[in-house]
Symmetry: C2
Subunit: 212 residues, 2 copies
């Protein structure tokens, strides 16, 4: 496939398109026009066409797009034609909730390892996976094919943990700590941050500025 | 304060500035230049100055900004000079983890109510708060000052739950479901989505496109 530089804003919209198309497919909808997509997603039809044109346009013919085809094509672009192995490091409240989160497995993300430093947690089983000691993290990452590491350790441990995993070849991180991993890890490493505090602060901003 | 339209991109960066300044303050740093800020945050110094100019510039004098002053001013803009009451609706694994998440209380967000429809959960106590039945949600929201509702119910219940809360006067939602609340709730309601699946899909995209 010919590769041109695709803007991050376009890429960021792909999961939403994909999820919506998956819902439509489940509901048995076979075709959808860009106008209908646009109404449902509150994005202009022209934006949708422009977004899709980045990937060759997905062959809209006559009345709209074939839902299943479009879903599969967008899925392929995202990389959902393959499965991914994840590990979760830090099995506190959030790590434990993520270990039990069905959304990952439902979308092709298998959790294959859980790690914590707390002896009381090591050996406990969550969703059929036993929590391992953090001292096993490096060898596990070296011996297994791990695509994505979910970082739920305390903030002060985040960079050390991620750096070890980068050394063992892991390239993608979902970061739940407040650490700024993105800027501290080497180039070519991908970080997605879930900054819960930032999210709630943005709501404060909106509440505050709507009152005035 | 004179109000001009401030772009969402600028607003979205405020929590990160705030968190970084809070760390600096903790470490006892008194002054910081925009160049140092820029290096630490991997944003250009000119971007930082432009961002700050939206709010009057925060009086950089001589060598850089006063850290405490800058933190407080940005905090005020975000609305962190006040406290906020939160409720969490849906006490599954994720809701429970959020109920225990110390980051909220540490930043002025008090959780004052937890709600679930599961009789086995109702009455259980998490962080000193008893889980209430979902049937009490409307009256609780009407009788208490709730600023922010965290939505962790199943996707199919999300819109119904949020709509009830909007009726009772709640304006801000942190949405952990895959529902598209933002576009389904009335104007003037603020939604921040934490789409965990989208986040992990973006990592797949990056992994996939770096391999080629």
């Amino acid at each position: 496939m010919e590769k041109k530089e695709i803007s991050r804003a376009v890429i960021n919209r792909l999961p939403r398109y994909y999820r919506f198309l998956k819902e439509l497919e489940k509901e048995g909808v076979e075709r959808i026009s860009s106008l209908e997509l646009s109404r449902a997603l509150d994005v202009t039809a022209s934006q949708i066409r422009q977004d899709f044109n980045n990937f060759g346009g997905f062959g809209q013919q006559g009345y709209g797009y074939n839902v299943q085809h479009l879903k599969e094509e967008i899925g392929k672009i995202i990389g959902l034609d393959q499965c991914y192995n994840m590990i979760i490091v830090g099995i506190g409240n959030l790590g434990k909730a993520l270990a039990k989160y069905p959304g990952f497995a439902n979308n092709g993300y298998s959790t294959i390892g859980l790690f914590d430093s707390d002896p009381a947690k090591i050996g406990t089983v969550i969703n059929d996976i036993a929590v391992r000691g953090i001292d096993e993290l490096g060898s596990f990452a070296a011996d297994n094919e791990v695509d994505i590491a979910v970082i739920c350790v305390p903030r002060t441990e985040a960079l050390k943990t991620a750096s070890l995993l980068v050394e063992k070849g892991i390239k993608a991180f979902m970061n739940f700590t407040q650490a700024d991993l993105e800027h501290e890890l080497p180039d070519g490493i991908f970080v997605q941050n879930v900054y819960l505090i930032d999210t709630v602060m943005l709501l404060s901003y909106d509440l505050n500025n709507s009152k005035k």
